[in-house]
């Protein structure tokens, strides 16, 4: 399959990625190539094969649902681009 300009724009939108117009053509070509690579998988017979999501599937560990962390809001917000009185600031979303 060949990625069109619109295909790239669509996945860029899904990915919340702003692309420069000059980037799009390169990605059309690269993504088409990666997809060609991925197409090889279609030839494999996987009837009745269970998908393997990760190698430790059989042994996922769940910890007790207890509070173990202390409040470190200030430390964590020290690396945020913009905060005010403990809140993360973003452009207005509700008019």
């Amino acid at each position: 399959m060949r990625f069109t300009e619109e295909d790239v724009r669509r996945v860029a939108r899904l990915s919340r990625l702003a692309l420069e117009p000059k980037e799009i053509e390169g990605f059309q070509q690269d993504l088409s190539q990666i997809l060609d690579l991925a197409q090889k998988l279609q030839a494999i017979d996987t009837t009745n094969v269970e998908p393997l999501a990760h190698p430790g599937s059989s042994s996922v560990f769940l910890r007790a649902d207890l509070v173990t962390e202390t409040d470190q809001r200030e430390a964590f917000q020290a690396v945020a681009p913009e905060v005010d009185r403990g809140l993360y600031l973003v452009p207005r979303v509700v008019e």
Binding site: F27, Q33, I34, T46, V49, L52, H54, A78, Y88
Partner: protein, 493 residues
């Protein structure tokens, strides 16, 4: 032993010298920092060096030793791949996105090392978000190969490998999602191990593809790898994929006899695609194992050629999800100009990520999107099961698998500039191992036209000790692991 020789020796020798009070942690750290300063303009192996921070750690290590002489590793320096969060250290993952990110907490790996008194020498350069096989995708510039400055060190843990190879650190941490420890270890002529998936906690390790990512170690010998593996291994409730097991320490089992060990040789891995020079070196390394008393058996890994296609569906899918956390709100780069929230996200990410990261996010979003999920993502996971089944069958016939790490030696910088997807194809011997979650290591096995070649050893799940025994026995019988690049033999001290 003078200081210069000591710095070239590795963890075991440094531990002995520190134990006998021949030298202090501060002296060792200072000497390595001086070397890093000399080599940095050429090699670019580090993203961040903070002399004061390192010397503070070293002073602390000296007092740890004075207080309890049983702390046999306190004061050993280590380079940290810039993907492990370390409190107070800038942690960039090789990305503009995290250029100013000072980690507010320690990753599990850093925590374990700190507890033993290891001293962080600096933050090693890497491909952006660990995506790449050459370290050319770092926002902070490529790393050079210490054996030939016109060549890449491999990736994504290129800075870690180059630092150890050049004698700027006795050991380094790394991560391996598709070969990112084994391939740079091979190309820089050092030893590197990628443990079983679930052996080392991923807590605080900046995620690329979570079902494949695993932390590991670079060092000058299998013996040193074993010591460090024992420090970083273990169950951590903060990582749901961390497995609770009570394995014997690797270092204790190191001298076990390997005679009679059955070494599996994958018949698919020595044909077309493997360069003649690498093939000769790997075959003579296997011959060496036979002379040491191992027995060779041919094994069949028919699905391993599907590993690259499966990987380039699964890894981008997981990356597109993992990297959605970089939104310009809570941490990382935020664009200067935006008119609404959507634009804030899109521009911050568009500016913050480099081309390879964007490529993989886009691919991942595509294969996960409506209408393609079953055809690509689920199919790739089914093929992944078949690849793992191949290994399971193979390990009924053999105890370890031996083969090449990469089809060639390190390539010249810029070789794949116009064709990034071509570079993916070179990971054909390392990626199957990540898909199956197996432990594997690379050890120096010789040279092809002056460039180092690695031997890959792959073990059954949780058999790191057996892999390290084999590697250690090989390093007793050979001296490839002691070879150092001529360019960096003159570093002072």
């Amino acid at each position: 032993m003078n200081l210069s020789e000591l710095l070239n020796q590795g963890v075991t020798a440094l531990s002995a010298a520190l134990g006998s009070r021949e030298v202090s942690a501060v002296e060792i750290a200072t000497a390595y920092l001086d070397r890093i300063e000399q080599a940095q303009p050429e090699l670019n192996a580090f993203i961040t060096v903070d002399r004061e921070h390192t010397l503070r750690d070293a002073t602390l290590a000296d007092s740890m030793r004075a207080a309890s002489p049983g702390q046999s590793l306190a004061g050993i320096p280590i380079a940290q791949k810039d993907v492990f969060c370390a409190k107070g250290w800038r942690t960039t993952a090789g990305s503009h996105m995290l250029e100013n990110f000072i980690a507010p907490y320690d990753s599990a790996v850093v925590q374990q090392l700190n507890k033993q008194g290891f001293v962080t020498l600096g933050r090693a350069n890497m491909d952006e978000f660990a995506m790449g096989s050459s370290n050319e995708n770092s926002y902070f510039g490529p790393v050079k190969n210490p054996w030939d400055l016109s060549r890449v060190p491999g990736g994504s843990s290129g800075g870690s490998a180059a630092a150890v190879a050049a004698g700027l650190a006795p050991a380094a941490t790394g991560t391996d999602t598709g070969g990112s420890i084994r391939q740079p270890a091979a190309w820089c002529g050092i030893s590197g191990i990628k443990p079983t998936y679930g052996r080392v906690s991923r807590f605080g390790m900046i995620a690329y593809a979570s079902s494949l990512d695993q932390a590991g170690i670079f060092a000058r010998s299998a013996q040193d790898l074993a010591i460090l593996m024992d420090v970083i291994s273990g169950h951590d409730p903060r990582d749901a994929t961390s497995v609770d097991r009570k394995d014997a320490p690797c270092a204790k089992e190191l001298d076990k006899d390997i005679r009679g060990l059955r070494v599996g040789i994958p018949k698919q891995w020595f044909g077309e695609g493997l360069s003649a020079g690498v093939k000769i070196v790997v075959e003579s390394a296997i011959q060496e194992l036979v002379m040491m008393g191992c027995e060779c058996v041919e094994i069949d890994l028919p699905m391993s050629e599907q590993a690259i296609p499966a990987y380039y569906v699964i890894a981008p899918a997981e990356a597109s999800s993992n990297l959605s956390r970089f939104d310009g709100v809570r941490f990382g780069h935020r664009a200067a100009q935006y008119k609404d929230l959507a634009e804030l996200y899109e521009r911050s990410r568009g500016e913050g990520f480099g081309p390879e990261v964007k490529r993989r996010i886009l691919m991942g979003s595509y294969v996960l999107s409506h209408g393609y999920y079953d055809a690509y993502y689920l199919q790739a996971q089914r093929v992944r099961r078949l690849i793992a089944n191949d290994f399971e069958r193979a390990f009924m016939l053999c105890d370890v698998i031996a083969g090449p790490v990469a089809p060639t030696t390190a390539f010249p910088l810029g070789s794949f500039g116009a064709d990034p997807v071509q570079m993916y194809l070179a990971d054909l011997y390392t990626i199957p191992v990540n898909l199956a979650g197996l432990p594997a290591l690379s050890i120096p096995a010789g040279f092809d036209a002056g460039m180092p070649v690695g031997l890959q050893l792959i073990g059954p799940w949780w058999q790191e000790a057996r892999l390290l025994q084999t590697a250690h026995a090989f390093q007793i019988a050979t001296d490839w692991h002691t070879k150092r690049p001529a360019l960096y033999s003159g570093l002072k001290p």
